[in-house]
Symmetry: C2
Subunit: 192 residues, 2 copies
């Protein structure tokens, strides 16, 4: 535990990419092992089941979201921070050459696998909404309004993530994210 052999981490990163591309059911452990440069049967030394590997992938995404929130926290006002957050979401949506929808895919895939795993994937959305809700609260919005706006923001960003797959056009997508940014700017509230 003091010094992870980093093979475990390589497996998680490989699984993350393959689950993203081919889905949970569509990814074999042999594929994951090969992509990670680890012998096939060896996966089971680090993860007792495929589900445990999926849990590690969700944890890894949680770390991404946390780092992403921290980066957006650099903004001077809640509006600025939310727009930085949106930039991060846009970047993720157009990242790589294969367009896809990481959180949505994981949520829908893992939900079907087991109740427990599905709820775990849902916490990714909850984590995003918690942080964005905090920003709306800092605009002196009452709790219910801040919560509703956080849901709206995350849902709109998520919707664009799927639209990105259909359009596969960075320019059009950028304009749609700008539309959300304008909505954020239109939100009333005192500074910081």
């Amino acid at each position: 535990m003091v010094k992870p052999p980093d093979k475990k981490d390589r497996l998680v990163q490989a699984a993350k990419l393959l689950f993203y591309r081919r889905g949970f059911a569509g990814t074999s452990l042999a594929d994951v092992a090969e992509a990670a440069g680890v012998p096939a049967g060896n996966v089971y030394y680090y993860f007792k089941t495929k589900e445990q590997l999926a849990e590690a992938v969700v944890s890894s995404y949680h770390a991404n979201i946390q780092g992403w929130n921290q980066a957006a926290a650099a903004g001077d006002t809640p509006q600025q921070r939310l727009k930085l957050w949106l930039d991060g979401y846009y970047q993720m949506s157009v990242d790589g050459d294969d367009w896809n929808c990481p959180f949505g895919r994981l949520l829908i895939d893992l939900r079907q696998q087991s109740k427990r795993l599905g709820e775990l994937a849902a916490t990714l959305y909850e984590s995003m909404m918690e942080w964005t809700e905090g920003q709306f609260s800092r605009m002196s919005q009452p709790p219910e309004q801040a919560r509703a706006n956080a849901q709206t923001l995350v849902a709109r960003a998520q919707g664009l993530g799927v639209l990105a797959v259909v359009l596969q056009d960075r320019q059009e997508l950028r304009a749609h994210f700008q539309e959300i940014a304008d909505w954020v700017d239109s939100q009333k509230g005192s500074q910081r």
Copy 2:
């Protein structure tokens, strides 16, 4: 062809439900056959491959969308029609007891299966956007604006479809759809 034995149709409907619930990769043809009340090996008489079954499922969804558009066409104004369309989307999002995201899941699943199948699934979104764009055009919006608004509308509805899975709360979801309806009402344009 004159009189389909309806077994083929039963297979399509069963596949539609199972692909929705368990995804394409997570659904076996044996499961589909059983759900349709058809002997396992018999699937191949009607569909040469699993991919061809998926094509039939997409076609079936196209028929749904078309019927859905026609129902929404009963509205007197473009705004009314778009709000009826949104009602249809809401109904689909809360239909059944298992929350899920039919179009998104199908798109992401089939995209990974083959380029051809992925493009076919994308036509479902194009079909929705074509009809909604027509409504915005009838509000005397210029083509680019109508197109952008149609994309916004479909993306926001899609985002709520995913939010529905996370929240699993009809009331909150209804409020979010109302928010989009208000946006539709705020759209400028002459009547019909």
